[in-house]
């Protein structure tokens, strides 16, 4: 049931307005904080207000403008998008609080830029989540790229500028591929709108000026182009180089990159490609997802192995993201209902756990200036709350039951088995162990090595979000059967996707 409703636009508009207000009046600390927090809460309210209806099967549509005929900007709230929007808007709240605490010492100008572009990034993320068609998705995807850049180079050091350049080269390259894919899809399908079981599934349509029939090779090309394009942001293994470099940015930015927006946007894009552009039926015939699955496997294992080798905490976190986000791709490529659930669900699982860890890393750096793992001796006793949260997140990644990560692992393995691909199940197990191999030593150090040096109290502005996010990790792992909580949303989204196939 499709309903025209301006709320998607409103959600986007709140973030945009926040950005504008911050840019305009943000030199004043109070206003900056007020706008950012107000917008974060308001937007969360708007997004969550969409949830009950969406769970009841309503789809909210809002077409903004159509510039070339058939190509336009529009918003459409389906459950998958809503889930992504919910994750990002929830995380925005926490990140905002954290950032207020974290950036306290910075110059006003830097803060204005930070909060302004941060709001823009979040706006772009909502745009991606609620995009009605591939073009809208692409626009906001690129907006995200552009708006993240000032954040990446926030410190304006040579290293930051270099990282920013690398980031841009990678992501713009990826954006180019997506653009190419966009053109190919438009040509092949004659439309870009989501909300049908596979744009390309219907075969050859007539475009505005006539199109042509599709062959397997063309479809393969489209798939490869789009997946690689989105894969850059999702930090799929050969294309992951920007992610560790971008770690020079301040912690809230890393949180944004890894949890709130950027990496997720890539993964979400791939989900859209699989579920909306190709559609499950078409992909089931085509077998492309095998390749994607192996790509994901390479990332999962490779990312972990590389993370193991890092001695810098944030870099280790970065490579861990490479590994973790590919869970989503692996799950999505398995093409069965269970895996679909987890492909969506892991957006939240990875987000909350990873943001916890980044927050902690940031708090440590802020409090003591320590960035290397071997400097963390005894920090668990000096920052008990933070490191407890860190441990929870680490255990979640390892896949300890009752935490969010276990759910992921469980469902991906189940999905792999349903897909008759036991080797992916083995991969998941190995990945869990690898996570243990590189996270537990950190935890161990923090708790069992003698205390060295002093650590300043991070303060509740930092500690609060850390604890809250860790609590979310537990919550995600234990609230699967509660209506309107994340898991039920994810599984309802998956159900809808598969129900369309069944029809």
């Amino acid at each position: 049931m499709e309903i025209v409703d301006p709320r998607p636009l409103l959600a986007l508009g709140i973030s945009l307005a926040c950005a504008l207000l911050v840019f305009a009046t943000g030199r004043h600390y109070g206003r900056r904080v007020l706008w950012s927090m107000g917008a974060a809460l308001l937007k969360f309210g708007v997004v969550i207000s969409l949830l009950p209806g969406a769970m009841a099967g309503e789809v909210y549509l809002f077409r903004l403008v159509e510039f070339p005929p058939g190509v336009g900007i529009g918003f459409r709230v389906d459950l998958m998008g809503l889930f992504f929007a919910l994750v990002s808007s929830t995380l925005w709240i926490f990140t905002t609080i954290y950032a207020i605490g974290y950036m306290r010492g910075e110059a006003d100008r830097a803060q204005v830029r930070f909060f302004g572009f941060f709001a823009l990034c979040v706006a772009a993320t909502v745009g991606i989540a609620f995009a009605e068609n591939l073009l809208t998705l692409f626009i906001f995807y690129e907006l995200l790229t552009v708006c993240t850049y000032p954040l990446v180079i926030h410190k304006e050091t040579p290293a930051a500028l270099k990282a920013g350049r690398k980031y841009l080269i990678y992501t713009l390259g990826g954006g180019g591929l997506v653009l190419l894919g966009l053109v190919l899809v438009q040509h092949a399908a004659g439309t870009l709108s989501f909300g049908q079981t596979g744009l390309l599934a219907a075969g050859a349509h007539d475009g505005p000026l006539g199109g042509g029939p599709l062959g397997g090779g063309q479809l393969g090309l489209i798939f490869a182009v789009l997946v690689l394009g989105f894969g850059v942001k999702a930090a799929v293994m050969p294309l992951h180089g920007w992610l560790p470099s971008a770690m020079v940015a301040p912690t809230p930015v890393s949180a944004l990159l890894h949890a709130v927006a950027v990496v997720k946007a890539g993964a979400f894009g791939i989900l859209r490609v699989i579920y909306d552009i190709f559609g499950l039926e078409l992909l089931a015939q085509l077998n492309f997802t095998q390749a994607l699955a192996w790509l994901a496997v390479v990332s999962i294992i490779g990312g972990s192995l590389l993370a193991w080798r890092q001695v810098n905490l944030k870099r280790r976190l970065a490579y861990s993201t490479v590994s973790q986000v590919s869970y989503i791709l692996l799950a999505a490529s398995l093409l069965n209902p269970t895996a679909t659930v987890v492909a969506i669900m892991h957006l939240a699982n990875q987000g909350f756990a990873k943001i916890t860890m980044f927050f902690v890393a940031g708090a440590i750096e802020q409090g003591s200036g320590r960035t290397e793992i071997n400097q963390l001796d005894g920090i668990g006793r000096q920052m008990p709350w933070s490191l407890a949260a860190f441990t929870v997140a680490a255990l979640s990644f390892i896949g300890v039951p009752l935490l969010a990560g276990f759910l992921t692992k469980w469902l991906v393995i189940l999905g792999a088995l349903e897909g008759e691909a036991w080797w992916f199940a083995a991969v998941m197990v190995i990945s869990g162990l690898l996570n243990a191999v590189y996270w537990l030593p950190v935890v161990y150090r923090a708790y069992f090595r003698p205390v060295t040096g002093v650590v300043a109290d991070p303060g509740w502005l930092l500690r609060g979000p850390i604890i809250a996010c860790a609590a979310f990790v537990v919550l995600l792992g234990t609230t699967a059967h509660f209506h309107l909580l994340p898991f039920s949303v994810a599984s309802e989204a998956a159900r809808v996707i598969w129900a369309e196939v069944a029809n």
Binding site: V65, F67, I169, G176, V183, L184
Partner: protein, 507 residues
């Protein structure tokens, strides 16, 4: 009310002489400018602006009539075709006319303060005269349906353009102008030669008449030569790779407002010429138009890539923009030569949109130079803080020229890429995307330097926004870059029948 409005519009548009008024206005205005200067020199900029504004208004009834009746002709002197000179307002003429009408007033408004500083005082009246002549010439060139008349108006455009490059008096500019002149003169000669050959072959100069008579001929070499001479001639005018090397210096060293006109509009004269060439030879079976098309497609693609490639390595802001023009001309030519409906549609759209965007960019760049006197990215670092509005306009223009949806730059590239696929040549879709990426690279450099670097030059730190009469046109155009993109379905629907007609004529 609406009905009454419609009726009065159609009555207004039905007046037959709008088409000739369209060119007489700017040309007549130009003719009187030096005299006006002698009488009341302060009025000259306003006079030029008035003329441009009236010209722009004149375009409206023409567009209205075109949209409702399709292409129509005007016969000066009343001589029936092919005995006299025919003026014809079709969609392609309308594109260029609309671009001129839209861009001339902002450029002239911008010029009032800008030229007062950038152009030596004694040359000022001639600056305005030449600008108006240039615009009028462009309009004439767009609407003429006669081969020789096209040549004449092309000369008006070219001569004024050469002089405008040098009008600022910079030594570099004078050299560049001479180089431009030499290349332009050769291209004009080639075009004249082709006109001569076509005349010798058909005994006619009216384009439609010639096009009708050409297929009956059995002279492949002569036809090929005529087509080749026209193509090379217009390619030179349009600065298509590898005939581009006069352009960057000329466009970069000219005063800002002139660069805007040259890059935005004057190179489009070459494109219109290519369109006309295509229309002439579309029906000729002896001539393998597919082969010519293939060459042009590759040249267009090469332009796209090479233009961007060179631009990436530039430090001078205006040189970057100039190389970017080569790239965009490449898009347009490529789109045309792909000869599929969508590609042609895209090329036509881009013709107009590029004019708009590049004008925005050059005006904004001109404003920066006006305030700081600095030209390179390194020197201009941090200018985004002291001239935020102007730089915002530049950034918006940059986004548009990269082709970020939903700006104006996107639509054209979108259809060109789709058209490449439609023509079964996906490689060129790739070129479109790759070109956009390269463009993103160097425009990002600009934005990066302006916004994210600390200012180093004193002129940058002490700069402030330009006066409103310069800022307003820049901002207006920047907003249009966005607005035209959002409203792109209007031109698309407007142009689709024209493209279809053109392709029908071929088959």
């Amino acid at each position: 009310m609406a009905a009454a409005l419609t009726v009065s519009w159609s009555a207004l548009a039905a007046w037959p002489h709008w088409l000739i008024v369209l060119i007489l206005l700017p040309l007549g205005g130009a003719v009187l400018t030096p005299a006006l200067y002698a009488l009341q020199r302060r009025l000259v900029p306003w006079w030029a602006l008035l003329v441009a504004g009236l010209t722009a208004l004149t375009v409206l009834p023409l567009l209205w009539r075109l949209a409702h009746e399709g292409p129509f002709s005007y016969l000066p002197g009343g001589w029936a075709r092919p005995y006299g000179v025919e003026l014809r307002f079709d969609e392609f003429a309308a594109l260029l006319a609309a671009a001129v009408a839209l861009l001339a007033p902002p450029v002239l408004l911008f010029s009032r303060r800008y030229a007062a500083r950038a152009v030596p005082a004694g040359r000022l009246p001639f600056y305005y005269t030449l600008l108006l002549l240039n615009l009028g010439g462009l309009l004439g060139l767009a609407i003429t349906a006669d081969l020789f008349n096209l040549f004449v108006f092309l000369e008006v455009v070219s001569l004024s353009a050469y002089a405008l490059v040098a009008v600022g008096g910079r030594p570099v500019a004078e050299l560049a102008a001479f180089k431009y002149l030499l290349m332009g003169a050769i291209s004009s000669l080639l075009i004249l030669l082709a006109v001569g050959i076509l005349f010798a072959l058909t005994g006619s100069l009216n384009m439609a008449d010639v096009a009708q008579r050409l297929p009956a001929l059995a002279t492949p070499a002569a036809l090929t030569l005529a087509a080749a001479a026209l193509l090379v001639g217009f390619m030179l005018k349009a600065a298509l790779f590898p005939l581009h090397n006069w352009l960057p210096e000329a466009h970069a060293s000219a005063p800002g407002a002139v660069s805007a006109v040259l890059s935005g509009l004057v190179v489009k004269a070459g494109i219109i010429g290519l369109v006309r060439t295509y229309q002439l030879f579309a029906g000729v079976e002896l001539l393998d138009t597919a082969n010519l098309g293939a060459i042009l497609v590759w040249l267009g693609a090469a332009s796209v890539v090479m233009g961007s490639f060179f631009a990436v390595f530039q430090h001078d802001l205006k040189l970057m923009l100039a190389y970017s023009t080569i790239t965009n001309i490449g898009y347009i030519v490529m789109g045309w030569a792909l000869a599929s409906p969508q590609a042609m549609l895209g090329a036509s759209l881009h013709l107009f949109n590029h004019a708009l965007i590049k004008t925005t960019l050059f005006l904004a760049a001109g404003a920066l130079i006006y305030r700081t006197g600095l030209r390179t990215l390194e020197e201009l670092r941090g200018i985004g803080r002291t001239m935020p509005l102007n730089c915002a306009a530049l950034a918006l223009g940059a986004l548009a020229i990269v082709g970020v949806p939903p700006t104006a730059g996107f639509v054209g590239k979108w259809f060109i890429a789709l058209g490449a696929l439609q023509a079964g040549r996906p490689f060129f879709a790739l070129v479109v995307v790759f070109g956009a990426l390269l463009a993103a690279v160097y425009y990002v450099r600009i934005i990066n330097a302006f916004y994210f670097r600390e200012p180093e030059q004193k002129a940058v730190v002490t700069a402030r926004e330009v006066p409103w009469s310069m800022l307003a046109p820049v901002l207006l155009l920047a907003l249009l870059c966005l607005g035209i993109g959002l409203l792109a379905r209007l031109p698309v629907e407007f142009l689709e029948p024209a493209v279809a007609r053109l392709l029908d004529g071929r088959s």
